[in-house]
Symmetry: C2
């Protein structure tokens, strides 16, 4: 099973955007993360489509979170970039072959599908339990109280607001 690598970049961008006082251009987020701007733009478009960030147009334009980081979960970001579909797709194998179960007897998902759905729900619940604000708090706790001030300073310097 594999998740899009874009999820990791998108989560880092959201955490960084908690420090932003002004819209942050995509190219600046790319520079901060040392990744190609076009690759990051794709992830930011995913976040924008999902309503997690907004793109502000104009000379001092860029990206901002659309709401408080307490209200954006890790699951929101994962689904924005990687899609909302479960990893397991039931192809109704029970309806195939010489002992096929007739379609009219397949009103509930099969036992295998149910087990997979329950695991998927547990995974999503765990991702829903963590917000971008939690991640930002963990970052401060990991690297010290000045971490976000440093990021804010770097972003402002680029804006000419240093």
């Amino acid at each position: 099973m594999k998740m899009s690598g874009g999820v990791e970049w998108a989560l880092h961008c959201c955490v960084v955007l908690t420090a932003a006082r002004q819209p942050v251009p995509a190219v600046r987020l790319a520079e901060l993360h040392d990744v190609s701007a076009s690759y990051l733009a794709k992830q930011l478009q995913g976040l924008s489509r999902a309503g997690l960030v907004q793109s502000v147009q104009g000379q001092s334009g860029g990206y901002l979170l659309t709401r408080a980081p307490e209200l954006i979960t890790v699951l929101d970001v994962v689904e924005a970039v990687d899609g909302p579909r479960p990893a397991f797709v039931c192809t109704e194998i029970r309806q195939r072959g010489p002992l096929a179960t007739p379609a009219e007897s397949c009103l509930v998902p099969c036992a295998i599908s149910r087990a997979m759905t329950a695991a998927d729900a547990a995974w999503r619940a765990a991702l829903r339990a963590v917000t971008i604000a939690d991640l930002a708090r963990d970052v401060t706790s990991d690297y010290g109280p000045d971490t976000f001030a440093g990021i804010r300073g770097w972003l402002a310097a680029a804006d000419g607001h240093a």
Copy 2:
């Protein structure tokens, strides 16, 4: 995020093998599931490498579960076919760019990686909580008490034991 489609076939095979009194040839499992034998053989090889099924050689050879279905979890089968690696791979983005965290300060995984690892653990715990015996019981409960007798009869007919 996407899981190998082989997981679904492998789980169906394991459930069917709980009904087997004799080794079941791969080609017979493929016929029962109406899928190409070469495709199914690949999944069975994965199960065999993981020690979940054994291949019995000879004229009445085929596949058998290596242990009681109570002792084979859905997670065992998922990992046998899809590999044991988590869907999320941390690429240490924090060590990149102008504000990079020095490698020597990255002794514990970053907050994003920790959140993903916790969700992965919840997913695996849910899959570990369900055994092949549970699935077989659910199948009986869904389709009636004669379901496995029917499968056993079909498998035995092929063996010439009907």
